[in-house]
Amino acid sequence: MIDTLLKISKLSIEFLLPEGSLKAVDGINLSVRKKETVCIVGESGSGKTVTALAIMRLIPKPGIISSGEIFFNGENILKIPENKMMQLRGASISMVFQEPFNSLNPVFRVSDQIGESVELHIGLKGLAKEQKILEVLKLVGIQDEKRVYNSYPHELSGGMRQRVMIAMGLVSNPSLLIADEPTTALDVTIQSQILDLLAELKEKLSLSVLLITHDLGVVNEIGDSVYVMYAGKIMEKGNKSEIFNNPKHPYTEGLLKSVPDLGPVKRRLYTIEGNIPNLKELPNGCRFHPRCPYAMEICKKQTPVETKFSSQHSAWCFRYQGGEEQNG
């Protein structure tokens, strides 16, 4: 398993609220190999972002990692001291956020924003630092890098800002880039430019990307393997073609059916009935059963276990489990 870069095993994240603890993420397993793009797909509130922040060890209070392990390059990063973690952040693991306007400090020029990472992690100063910044701006496809270098965030367009964010993340040559809905706030044409850029950079810098999204179009464009998350649990995982062509879990099926198709085909857009459950009132058994069109009696009582379809493709659903095993 030498080519596994990130391995999350049995990770649970709880939020300790005065009225009790909420399990936002419940025992998930996930792994990212070198040079792989892994997508986590799910509705809002399914625990995608918290999982990403857990990798950074930056879960907002009152959240805690209640159990599980996160291995990065073979090292359990939940066990290393905070100052070592600080060196890892931004240097080996970088993160890009959803809203590029809010993620750039309004009082800093682009040069200062990116320069911060250069100073902290590469230790360059002066002219060498400037060179490095201009270089990385060019790398993320900014043509007039000299102008952008001296610009404040409010002088840049949304797509530009997202490129700057990506430049900030990449300047220290990380091995893992976590992108949390990097294209959600952008319009469609810019969105595909940014995705192309991510795909291109991934090849150029032999980067692994962990992409969090609710947009299956994005997954289709750049994903290698896919994890479908629902209410803090993984429902199905597999490589892209397995998930898109042969979805096993009813939730994945629902998600795929609710993507609008272009062109003259006329059909009513499918929606999955109901909403994602409140974490305070999680249903018993399979968390998806109240919205599942195939729900059976057993789904209300027991939690499904993994059913393997191939080396990568698995789903957690009773439809593929022999009923007799469960009764015993």
Binding site: M56, M86, Q87, L88, G90, M95, N105, H121
Partner: protein, 284 residues
Amino acid sequence: MNKRKFSPRGKVWGKIKNNRLALLGASVILVLSLMAILGPMLTPFGPEEQSISERLLAPHSKHICGTDELGRDVFSRMLSGARVSLSVGFIAVIISSCIGIIIGAAAGYYGGRIDSVLMRFVDIMLSIPTLFLILILSVYLGPSIINVMVIIGLTGWMDLSRLIRAEFLSLKKREYVLAARVCGASDARIIFKHILPNALAPVFVSVIFGVGGAILAESGLSFLGLGVQPPDASWGSILASGKDYIERAWWMTVYPGLAIFITIMAYNLLGEGLRDALDPRLVE
């Protein structure tokens, strides 16, 4: 179409430029500061130069603000007093701003128990009458101009720390703070480099008001004899020595009183103009 106009800084300057009272305040402050700096060059008399034959002279062409009971030129004494008052104002405000920023930033950024402890400390400080505290401290520390600066600085930071705390409470949740943390920035770096520059607007306003307040406090202390000691002059101490002669020599109280009044007024006008200009909720 000049680009400056659309930058936040350009906008603030544009608003101040249209506020006549704020401009008036700023120019008065500028003139006063110049007079304090140039001081001795503007008058032929030294502030402590006595002339027994010229005691209690009413203002005339030679002594434009008259002379005091020892025959000293009141205008020269006021100029040297201006140096004292203005420097006390600035240094006291620097001290109180540093304390206010550090306490407010720590309370707002860390929250929780640190916040409660610091804010209760602020409540305690605010519930002690400031003048009393100043009087007690200055009796305890002894009257000297350095002590006055320190005392005024130590008793004037609470409002600023509350403002800064409020700013930090909202700014720390911004995504760029998370982005900085993701880049591996330390708490200190985030507080001072990433959040503080975004929280500076209220600091500017509070500093301007603070200078006025500190000058007023210094005048009060010196008037009570707890500030600068004779023969040094400050506006408050000139006022104090003039009060005994108020019937025979009105100029010994009216001129330093006017100086105090005009200065405080100027700082308040500028402060208000700046506050209006920096407040994004006030749109013309």
